[in-house]
């Protein structure tokens, strides 16, 4: 190479960038957005230049530089949801809330945004409010969905809930069943997916009994490790637009047979999960 790069001498700026996302995550969680002064402070404190921070903060949808409302409504305008009528849903929400995509209502109740693919194409059009998936949404459902969010979700939620029952799931992209009846855990066929972390790729099976968290894998997964999960049939990554309420790792959505979406946390050892049965049947 002909060039001597001065920045190479400035140690490990790449490593610093790796630490940045968790820091921004925490700020976003604390304030609901990334205030300018906070970012400037991160820059001085961690010695990461402000352009890099700003670049990352504006790159990821999960971060916002503007204050957000109490509830976040995202409408999927990904290819699949687009052809299934996503845009008309988006328009309806804009009308109901009287905001444009990316804006927050005057009363700071709702922020509305459009996103590209929430990882549940087979159930489109998808609307996600505060991490809850609503599937096959129709224009007439919109009002109900917004009201549901305002009144609080009647959800079966995360760590504390004691319910134990078997579920059957399929890939949120191709709708192919993820059940593997050759493998039995807790007395039921398991959910089998392909996983990847670090440079390891292999299979992972999960107990299909909701409330149990038995996991077996080809590899020993270190605690706290975030793993990527893939559908063994269509090979799409099982990833949505939401993060775990316990540990902010990405949630992995899967379709529940009989209607609804279950989301599990992608971090090894974290028990965060969320089950929405019925989905758009509300309203």
């Amino acid at each position: 190479m002909t060039n001597i790069n001065v920045t190479d001498l400035e140690n490990s700026s790449k490593q610093k960038k790796g630490r940045l996302i968790p820091i921004l995550d925490q700020i976003q969680a604390k304030f609901g957005y990334l205030p300018e002064e906070e970012l400037r402070q991160v820059s001085t404190e961690y010695g990461i230049s402000l352009v890099d921070i700003y670049g990352v903060a504006t790159f990821y949808r999960a971060f916002s530089l503007k204050p957000r409302g109490k509830h976040l409504i995202s409408v999927c305008l990904g290819t699949a949801c687009h052809v299934r009528g996503g845009p008309t849903i988006a328009k309806e929400i804009e009308q109901q809330l009287n905001v444009k995509a990316g804006e927050t209502t005057a009363d700071k109740e709702f922020t509305f945004e459009t996103v590209n693919c929430l990882g549940a194409c087979a159930l489109g059009p998808i609307v996600v409010i505060d991490g809850h998936y609503f599937s096959s949404v129709k224009v007439k459902d919109v009002k109900g969905i917004i009201e549901t969010a305002q009144n609080g979700f009647d959800k079966i939620d995360s760590v504390s809930d004691q319910k134990v029952f078997p579920i059957e799931v399929s890939c949120a992209r191709c709708n192919h069943s993820l059940m593997d009846s050759r493998h039995i855990v807790d007395g039921h066929a398991v959910i089998k997916v392909t996983i990847s972390f670090g440079n390891k790729h292999g299979w992972l099976v999960l107990s299909s009994v909701y409330g149990r968290d038995k996991v077996e894998s080809q590899y020993k997964i270190p605690d706290e490790q975030i793993v990527q999960m893939f559908c063994p049939h269509c090979h799409s990554e099982l990833i949505g637009g939401t993060t775990c309420s316990e540990c902010v790792a990405p949630m992995v959505p899967m379709i529940v047979k009989g209607g609804g979406v279950v989301q599990i946390c992608s971090r090894s050892g974290c028990k965060g999960h969320l089950l929405d049965l019925g989905g758009a049947s509300i309203g």
Partner: protein, 232 residues
Amino acid sequence: MISLNINGLDVSVEEGTTLLEAAKFLGFPIPTLCHMEGLEPYGACRLCVVEIGEGAGAKLVTSCTYPAQEGLKVRTTSKRVAKARKMIIELLLASSPQSKTIQDLAAKYEVKQQRFRQEFEDCILCGLCVRMCEEQMVAKAIGFRGRGQERSIGTPFDKKSDVCRLCGGCMFVCPVCTLRCTYNEPDKAICGACSNISAPCLDKDKFDDMMCYLDPCAACEIEKQPCGKGGK
């Protein structure tokens, strides 16, 4: 040393040499836009494509980022390369038809048609200015923001940068706004600040895809524009 074959000529180059450097060494011209000696290759504009491999396995790669490999067969002027290159220039021309650099490229490679809607973009996101600022000026005053359609270049929060060295390097390397510096031909200048035409920030938000990160802006200084945006 690595031996490879470019346009039928055998050549040995040091390990780590890019195909672009090897071809230059042999005297084969390859057009480039986002490449500049002294800056890290970035591979954004795709203009430097060459064809490697043979038969069904032949493919186009960007020569500015592709390292020379033992026994590689490279063609810099094959039909496929010529066609791809023309298409890339045509697309660049559509996004920034006002750029002298791109106009010259179009003339040189005989791009005679313009089938896409002209956009008059101020920036083709080649990243030259960002690399200049970071690698040579060690300032990191400007950078990429956002992604996809909203990707743009600028200072954080579109505010005057306190680390900018006012070196003008970013404008110097920019293939789209090079015209700004034709101070002796003011009618051709886009910015025209230095020749006292009018401040560009009258129509646009300062620092917002303006590509001119200098503050105070020459135009404001000279004209003492009432806009209040510059001159402080």
